[in-house]
């Protein structure tokens, strides 16, 4: 177990800044997710922790030791690539044994550890196969087994689930989380999928254009987005933002519901909602439309759970209400959250 500290890390590729002055500390044993759109610098950040890229400036400290310019092999980190990067010319056994062999572990210990790691992921029967004979899910397990076999102090994962089909992905997510809990290894996980991030992370780091926008637990990120980028990147559909002078008011689609007797009080704001489009998704309905005056009408979405069955038709206007305590205010110029709510 280890702490990873990033101090003012920047990475430039020619004229483009991939990572811009990032400061980040992991907590021992936590599952930290780096979340952001593609090209936001999250993978570059992970590769710098691994030692495959060297930061242009700043320092990386693992377990109190400055490793900024040390090669990957000295860092005792394990990494699983998006492609799994299995050695195609080696059997599964040799793949898993590889990190042990380079460290000069003796044969009997290698066999024991490989079998233990393979057993953990249920691939004990595949040890003599070559990677090309395996399915996507099996390859992923081999990559994970290879990563844990040498008991790393930090575990780095670069979108390891993105090559799996949707059904497999959900069960792989659960497995991944359970096994990380069991090992208690500090894990840094990169993804662009917010569902993965919310479901897996102890904490989430939201990044865009090389900068960290927010670090927080999934509820913090969802309920108190630090700025409009986080507000609109996390959540599907994203947070509604409407213009109110110098301020943008934001609220989640599921908090914007048809007005009724319960909402006729101080705690709620009611808007006339001109519905333009409706999507029926089974468990819920998504209602698209505009609110506010003509001058600055804003497009918003409402997410109605299945148990609200009132009829709604496109082209008509309905009164919809949102609780005041569900509304977040952002500065229009900077996009930053004004009321933090955490006092």
């Amino acid at each position: 177990m280890a702490r990873v500290e990033l101090e003012n890390i920047s990475k430039l590729f020619g004229a483009t800044t991939a990572v811009n002055e990032v400061n980040l500390q992991t907590i021992e044993g936590e599952f930290l997710v780096l979340l952001g759109p593609s090209g936001c610098g999250k993978t570059t950040l992970l590769r710098m922790i691994a030692g495959i890229e060297t930061p242009s400036s700043g320092d990386i400290v693992i377990d109190g030791e400055k490793v900024t310019h040390l090669p990957p092999r000295t860092r005792n980190i394990a990494m699983v690539f998006q492609s799994y990067a299995l050695y195609p010319h080696m059997t599964v056994f040799k793949n898993i044994a590889f990190p042990l062999r380079t460290r000069g572990v003796d044969r009997t210990a290698i066999r024991e550890k490989v079998e233990q790691a393979a057993g953990m992921f249920g691939i004990g029967s595949l040890l003599e196969r070559k990677p090309r004979e395996l399915s996507g899910g099996e390859r992923q397990r081999v990559a994970l087994a290879r990563a844990i076999v040498r008991e790393p102090s930090v575990f780095l994962l670069d979108e390891p689930l993105s090559n799996l089909d949707a059904i497999l992905r959900a069960s792989a997510r659960e497995e991944l989380r359970l096994f990380q809990r069991r090992l208690g290894v500090t894990t840094v996980y990169v993804t662009h999928d917010q569902v993965e991030a919310m479901g897996l992370g102890d904490r989430i780091v939201v990044m865009n254009k090389g900068r960290v926008h927010q670090v927080g637990t999934p509820p913090e990120i969802y309920q108190w987005p630090a700025d409009t980028f986080v507000a609109t990147f996390v959540g599907s559909p994203p947070m509604n933002l409407i213009e109110q002078g110098d301020v943008l008011a934001g609220f989640r689609p599921e908090t914007f519901l048809p007005a009724g007797p319960a909402t006729e009080n101080e705690g709620f704001v009611t808007y006339p909602f001109q519905v333009t489009w409706l999507e029926y998704l089974g468990a819920e309905r998504l209602v698209y439309g505009d609110i506010g005056e003509k001058c600055c009408a804003r497009h918003v979405v409402s997410r109605l759970p299945g148990n609200i069955s009132i009829p709604i038709e496109p082209g008509k206007t309905y009164p919809f209400a949102v609780a005041k305590k569900a509304i977040r205010h952002f500065d229009r110029a900077s996009g930053r959250l004004i009321d933090t709510g955490k006092t």
Binding site: I77, P131, L134
Partner: protein
């Protein structure tokens, strides 16, 4: 009915094409074999059928080639030069191709093209200045002149060829090897080279055959019979003035070219086989 007829037609067409190609490739060998074993009288008589033995075959030409010329020495020289050139080429082209394929972004490609362009400068232009070099280093009449000069064209060609092979090996795999405890050099030797083995075998074959069939340099630098390679020994020793000793000439060509043809036929498939399949999804 239609489909089976169509199938027969398509298969037939395929086999017809392949047959034409097989005859085209095999005919020179047939010609060499028949000329090697024909008696001179049979060979030179215009009334005889040139495709068949009209008189009983003979081993005279082979005997002349093997025992009355330095042919066996030529073979040995060719082999020595070829192996030395292959070794030099591997030592230089493998690291060069690897670093051009991996490290220099953008520039690597341009440098690679630049290196390849040097391959296109014909020996006909270079052999005069190079002969001055060979003289300056005291290498005339020495196989060393060939061993040192042949890499000037094998290295650019093989570097270019290998760059392509290295590029097909996913970067992830060597980065993974570095994370798994190897240095960059270690990752190259233990992971990248085994995956590039088909490419390396290919350049071994290419470097060997390029140096084997080279003519101009060998002709310029070597005139002592015992130092000659096959590519110049056979035509210079077996063509006397305007007298072509076709029998021994063809025998020499046959012996020198058969191993190469066999190597190409049986190994080329393997060179091309997709070694990195299944490495990355």
């Amino acid at each position: 009915m239609m489909t089976s007829a169509g199938k027969v037609f398509r298969t037939g067409r395929l086999y017809a094409l392949l047959s034409i190609f097989a005859v085209f490739s095999a005919f020179p060998f047939y010609w060499m074999i028949i000329a090697t074993f024909k008696r001179d009288h049979d060979l030179f008589s215009p009334t005889n059928n040139p495709f068949l033995f009209n008189e009983p075959p003979t081993l005279d030409h082979l005997r002349l080639l093997l025992f009355d010329t330095h042919f066996l020495t030529y073979l040995l020289n060719t082999f020595l030069v070829g192996m030395a050139v292959v070794a030099i080429t591997l030592i230089i082209a493998v690291p060069a191709a690897y670093s051009l394929a991996r490290w220099a972004r953008g520039w690597g490609e341009m440098l690679g093209i630049g290196i390849f362009l040097t391959y296109l400068v014909p020996p006909a232009i270079l052999f005069i200045p190079l002969s001055r070099f060979a003289a300056a280093f005291g290498l005339q009449e020495s196989l060393w002149s060939l061993i040192l000069i042949y890499p000037t064209f094998t290295i650019p060609f093989c570097t270019w060829l290998l760059m392509g092979f290295f590029k097909t090996i996913p970067r992830d795999i060597e980065e993974q090897a570095m994370i798994d405890g190897l240095s960059r050099l270690g990752a190259m030797v233990k992971v990248v080279l085994p995956l590039a083995i088909s490419g390396i075998l290919t350049i071994v074959v290419f470097a060997f055959t390029l140096s084997m069939h080279e003519f101009i340099y060998a002709l310029t630098f070597i005139s002592v019979s015992a130092k000659k390679t096959v590519s110049i020994g056979v035509p210079t020793e077996l063509v006397r003035g305007d007298v072509f000793q076709w029998g021994p000439l063809m025998a020499g060509a046959l012996i020198a070219s058969t191993p190469v043809a066999v190597v190409y036929t049986f190994f080329l498939d393997r060179f091309i086989a997709g070694f990195t399949m299944g490495a990355v999804k």
